[in-house]
């Protein structure tokens, strides 16, 4: 039972990370119908910037806040400067641009910071947290906490502020939004900014566990796809819940199913994607797309 609880908590922690990246993917997909393949690399690059700030002597939470700010502005600028010129092009063309961003960020990180893995500090204490007979890693619990706080703030922003409402409207119906005076272009840019911010949080929380490396986020991106598929690409809440589920499932399967070692863990994610797509493509919480004739 103890192992079970430990694996669940650990799974929730990684699941929160998957869910955050999945949320970033879904936010952009909902507004633009494009899957941003570069989301993971943007998160990775933000984490490297945090590393630089920490190397320069900044205290952790200051670097954290600074990274989020830079990620936000960066995402916004990327939308305005890189994506905007092709926003009316065929969707696959925009996908290619995202792939271009992916390789650029990956390559730049490798060039500037080298491919040698670096340790990344966790803001949470080393000592594990003990509740009765069960031992939890402090970082895991902390990561869950940070993820929850960020997601809660986003939720409040989108549901209860005029700007959040305008952003939702712009994603759903750009034409009518313009008629309400909403500057749809800037709403898209804000969306990219927030997505990049959320991605950066994911990167900062995962780096202490897997070590900082330019290819750190590529596996996580795949889990994020699995999470968004499971939860539904049309549902931001679904993406997060999907992430938590994927994290827990991954851990439990890895622990309790004897032939699934670390290499095949990824196959579990892939199998999950395929099963969901075969059974209910729109995911657990997504809306099925209805075509009106």
């Amino acid at each position: 039972m103890d192992t079970f609880l430990q694996q669940v908590v650990s799974g929730l922690a990684t699941g929160g990370i998957y869910g955050s990246l999945a949320l970033a993917l879904v936010m952009i997909y909902q507004a633009t119908d494009v899957v941003n393949f570069a989301q993971g690399e943007m998160a990775m690059f933000s984490t490297y910037l945090a590393w630089s700030m920490l190397q320069a002597g900044l205290p952790y939470w200051l670097a954290f806040a600074g990274t989020l700010a830079i990620a936000f502005v960066g995402g916004l600028l990327i939308e305005r400067l890189v994506i905007r010129p092709v926003e009316n092009a065929p969707i696959l063309a925009i996908v290619i641009v995202c792939i271009g961003l992916l390789v650029i960020f990956n390559s730049l990180a490798g060039w500037i910071y080298s491919y040698i893995q670096k340790p990344f500090p966790s803001p949470f204490p080393e000592r594990p947290i003990t509740l009765g007979a069960v031992v939890f890693g402090a970082h895991d619990v902390g990561a869950i906490g940070v993820t929850l706080v960020v997601l809660a703030l986003l939720y409040v922003f989108f549901r209860h502020t005029p700007l959040g409402l305008a952003m939702r409207a712009a994603a759903q119906n750009p034409v009518s939004s313009r008629l309400c005076g909403v500057r749809v272009g800037w709403m898209l840019a804000l969306g990219w900014g927030l997505a990049a911010l959320v991605g950066a949080v994911a990167g900062l929380m995962v780096a202490p566990k897997v070590f900082l490396d330019p290819n750190m986020m590529s596996g996580i991106l795949i889990y994020a796809f699995a999470s968004a598929t499971l939860g539904g690409f049309t549902s931001p809440c679904g993406a997060v819940l999907g992430g938590l589920l994927v994290g827990v499932i991954e851990n439990l399967v890895g622990t309790y199913v004897w032939f699934i070692g670390t290499e095949l863990k990824l196959t579990v994610a892939l199998a999950l994607i395929l099963v969901v797509l075969l059974v209910k493509p729109s995911g657990l919480f997504g809306r099925a797309v209805v075509h009106r004739v």
Binding site: L165, A169, N173, S176, R178, L179, C180, G181, V184
Partner: protein
């Protein structure tokens, strides 16, 4: 006194297809003007041209300032509310969220509560349904919602595109009655595009008849009602 909205020699195109070939009309302050015409005459395009939603040439003036060539978001901020063809409601948002969006670009910081009350006053059914998702409303209710959203802007000019489309006659009469009330109480001028000529001429002071992108007749509604040209334009004889 200069007109609130003036259009001169307006041309509009979708891609390579030109739809308006030099249209001119005015809307007086406090007046209700209607643009009539059969399907494909270019009525919807005219409203879109005013709002900057389509490529135009020619001059469009609002309150003396030129608005042709500006972005829709900027034109709307001047106080022009457009209720588009097909309502344009945000079907995934609630009724109240739709209404709040209507007031999004208003400069004044007044609390929206008073505005919501005012709008619910015109459309009590919306108050009952305010937490409901807009997509679940009936056609008539969605038209009311679209109109209510436009009102939240406190517009000086209201553009209405075929409000009668797909609605039962009783509901249409109700909506047009409310439009008249809005014109009088809110002092909003109205530019109404309608296929149903009889209803439109009842409501409006002045009418323009559009045929394949050109104004072929215009005049006060009382005169236009007697004019054969409308019947000929619609029925071909």
């Amino acid at each position: 006194m200069p007109a609130l909205l003036e259009a001169e020699r307006v041309e509009a195109r979708y891609g390579w297809t030109k739809v308006l070939h030099g249209v001119g009309f005015t809307v007086e302050v406090g007046g209700i003007t209607t643009i009539l015409g059969a399907n494909g005459a270019g009525k919807t395009t005219t409203l879109r041209a005013v709002c900057g939603m389509v490529r135009t040439a020619g001059v469009i003036r609002f309150d003396g300032r030129r608005i042709d060539g500006q972005a829709t978001e900027d034109i709307v901020r001047l106080g022009i509310a457009h209720v588009p063809e097909g309502r344009g409601t945000f079907v995934q948002l609630t009724v109240e969220e739709n209404l709040r969006l209507g007031a999004y670009c208003r400069r004044d910081r007044a609390p929206r509560g008073a505005d919501l009350d005012r709008v619910y006053g015109y459309f009590p059914v919306l108050r009952e349904r305010r937490r409901q998702v807009a997509g679940t409303l009936s056609g008539g209710e969605q038209q009311m919602l679209a109109l209510a959203r436009a009102l939240m802007l406190r517009p000086r000019l209201l553009l209405l595109d075929e409000p009668s489309l797909g609605l039962a006659p009783m509901i249409v009469r109700e909506i047009l009655r409310i439009v008249r009330a809005i014109n009088q109480e809110e002092r909003a001028s109205v530019l109404l595009v309608e296929q149903n000529a009889a209803l439109a001429l009842d409501l409006a002071d002045y009418a323009y008849l559009l045929e394949t992108g050109r104004v072929i007749r215009s005049g006060p509604s009382a005169v236009m009602r007697e004019d054969d040209a409308i019947r000929r334009s619609y029925l071909g004889y």
